[in-house]
């Protein structure tokens, strides 16, 4: 088949490829026809005032089309059966248009609007599916694009796959088909102070996993930080130029600066953050947020270098993927000022 693992190609002809690459990027950005955004192509999001306007105009437009689709769905029951197929097709097109509207607006809409509109679209489509299987008897023949292969197994019922997702056995780290050298990090430790200065090491990714009652001090920049299964720990870390991914933390305190921060399955933990984009939580409870409070000699330069020199205010703009509504999520809160810790100084790494 056409599949091949082809890193060698890339490196063999790296310079030619790079030239081609640059030319292409240039061409792409020159044309800049790009983007399905409703305003000027390629422009940055409108200022806050404008985005408020667009949000309300989006909502009224969205509401209008949604109601119209719903009423057309209702009318299908009374329709001439020979015209049903046509009507369903039209409604289906309208739903697709509505979805497109959401997509086009999603960069300026508040997150809960995006999520709830998305859900509404999905519900409409479901309603359409239900109605059409109820009103149009299954055909014996169909000209649908036949798949080239047949799965021997019975097809999964709709939705089953998504629901089963969480019941699968936990993935085993040991089942990788390739031997991987342990990457930099601290693993399987308890009751220790774990300190590392990574300046000058050109570190890529750094991992903290299975730590219990430890204090972690990390000086310098990493590109990515993975955190997995920490209990009763304190993590003081210098800037991360890519993203931080945290899964399973309980009773912990984190001081982190990064471009992106994703927090999954955390309980009763405090996060002191500086972050360029909106931090997100998923399956969390009792997590609280405050601004970054770390110091070591030279941290200002490291922060500058990581383009995290300035406070962004994003530490409090948390998106909860498990919370669809406009009201504040019950899963996270802003840490009251009088409960915040003082600036932590880790200049003296091992002290």
């Amino acid at each position: 088949m056409e599949g091949e693992a082809d890193r060698s190609d890339a490196s063999a002809d790296a310079s030619a490829l790079r030239k081609k690459h640059l030319a292409m990027l240039e061409r792409l950005s020159n044309r800049h026809q790009s983007s399905s955004r409703p305003d000027k192509p390629g422009s940055s999001p409108p200022p806050a005032a404008a985005s408020f306007e667009s949000t309300s105009s989006f909502l009224s437009l969205f509401g209008e089309s949604k109601r119209s689709i719903e009423s057309r769905l209702g009318q299908c029951r009374l329709a001439d059966p020979s015209l049903l197929k046509l009507q369903f097709d039209e409604i289906s097109t309208s739903i697709a248009d509505l979805e497109k509207l959401v997509a086009e607006s999603s960069y300026y809409l508040p997150s809960y609007e995006v999520r709830s509109s998305l859900k509404a679209v999905s519900d409409l489509r479901q309603a359409l599916d239900n109605l059409s299987s109820e009103l149009i008897p299954k055909k014996k023949f169909s000209f649908k694009n036949k798949p080239a292969r047949k799965e021997p197994t019975a097809p999964q019922p709709k939705g089953a796959e998504a629901e089963n997702r969480d019941s699968r056995p936990a993935a085993k780290a040991g089942s990788l088909a390739v031997a991987v050298p342990d990457s930099p990090g601290f693993r399987n430790r308890a009751n220790e102070v774990l300190a590392k200065d990574v300046r000058g090491l050109e570190i890529g990714e750094f991992t903290l996993s299975d730590l219990e009652s430890c204090e972690v001090r990390l000086i310098g920049c990493a590109r990515a930080l993975f955190v997995h299964r920490l209990r009763n720990c304190r993590v003081y870390a210098g800037p991360v130029t890519g993203s931080v991914l945290i899964e399973e933390a309980e009773n912990c305190v984190f001081l982190l600066a990064s471009h992106q921060i994703r927090i999954h399955n955390a309980k009763a933990s405090d996060f002191y953050l500086r972050v360029r984009s909106r931090p997100i939580v998923e399956d969390c409870s009792g997590v609280r947020f405050a601004p970054y409070r770390l110091h070591y000699r030279g941290i200002e330069r490291d922060l500058e270098d990581a383009r995290l020199g300035e406070e962004t205010g994003n530490w409090s703009k948390v998106d909860d993927f498990k919370w669809l509504r406009a009201a504040q999520s019950p899963n996270w809160s802003v840490l009251p000022e009088n409960e915040r810790i003082e600036t932590v100084d880790i200049s003296n790494l091992s002290a």
Binding site: G3, A5, D6, R7, A10, L17, H21, M24, L25, L28, S29, S34, S35, S36, E99, K100, V102, A103, S106, S111, V114, L118, V121, F143, K144, N145, K146, P147, A148, E151, P155, Q156, G159, R168, A171, K172, A173, L176, V178, S183, E202, I203, G204, E205, R223, A224, F226, G242, L245, H259, Q260, R262, R276, S277, R278, I280, E282, D319, F321, K322
Partner: protein
């Protein structure tokens, strides 16, 4: 290809391709799309719903659907399967711990009848990170060799940071789709 589907493809808007981009959260999908489109990639939040980008690539118009990969919203992926010409699966090559998850989600996706005709490009992203697995290693972990023989696929190492590998991947995908869909010209 059935007669009707051929007609449908011919009637389709000039040279349009629909590309679905999925993968675990944090793998770099949004960064890749913005990079290939020459946009600023310095502030990107995790994707709450999805983004659509329409870009002109060579003589084709690509409609790229970049769908969020957070667990909560993976169940929405199925809403975007219809009419997909090209599937891009993005892997964070430095996230060793979640490679099993990654494999399982990809396997699920490939069982989808509605995606069975789509060309599959796998981006082994974040190659700039020290300690990242190579595309060959990723291919092994994901057991790509065992893929259905009728599937057109390719794995390409890339970095959305440097841009390395992105064009190589897109070039292949677009050519592969074009040779299937527009072969009648």
């Amino acid at each position: 290809m059935g007669l009707l589907s051929i007609i449908r493809k011919i009637k389709r808007k000039e040279k349009e391709m629909r590309i679905l981009m999925v993968g675990l959260d944090n793998s770099g999908k949004t960064t890749i799309v913005l990079k290939i489109n020459g946009e600023d990639t310095s502030v990107i939040s995790p994707t709450l719903g999805f983004n659509i980008k329409t870009i002109t690539y060579q003589k084709y118009t690509l409609n790229i659907w970049d769908v969020g990969g957070q667990k909560t919203i993976r169940s929405y992926w199925r809403n975007y399967f219809e009419q997909t010409d090209g599937l891009i699966w993005v892997v964070d090559s430095s996230d060793l711990r979640r490679l099993d998850d990654c494999k399982m989600e990809l396997d699920n996706l490939l069982k989808e009848e509605r995606l069975s005709g789509a060309s599959l490009l796998i981006f082994a992203n974040k190659q700039d990170i020290k300690g990242a697995l190579t595309p060959a290693e990723i291919a092994k972990v994901l057991n790509l060799e065992a893929m259905d023989k009728t599937r057109h696929w390719k794995i390409v190492g890339c970095s959305a940071y440097t841009g390395e590998g992105l064009l190589e991947g897109f070039d292949w995908l677009v050519q592969d789709i074009a040779s299937r869909i527009y072969m009648l010209e």
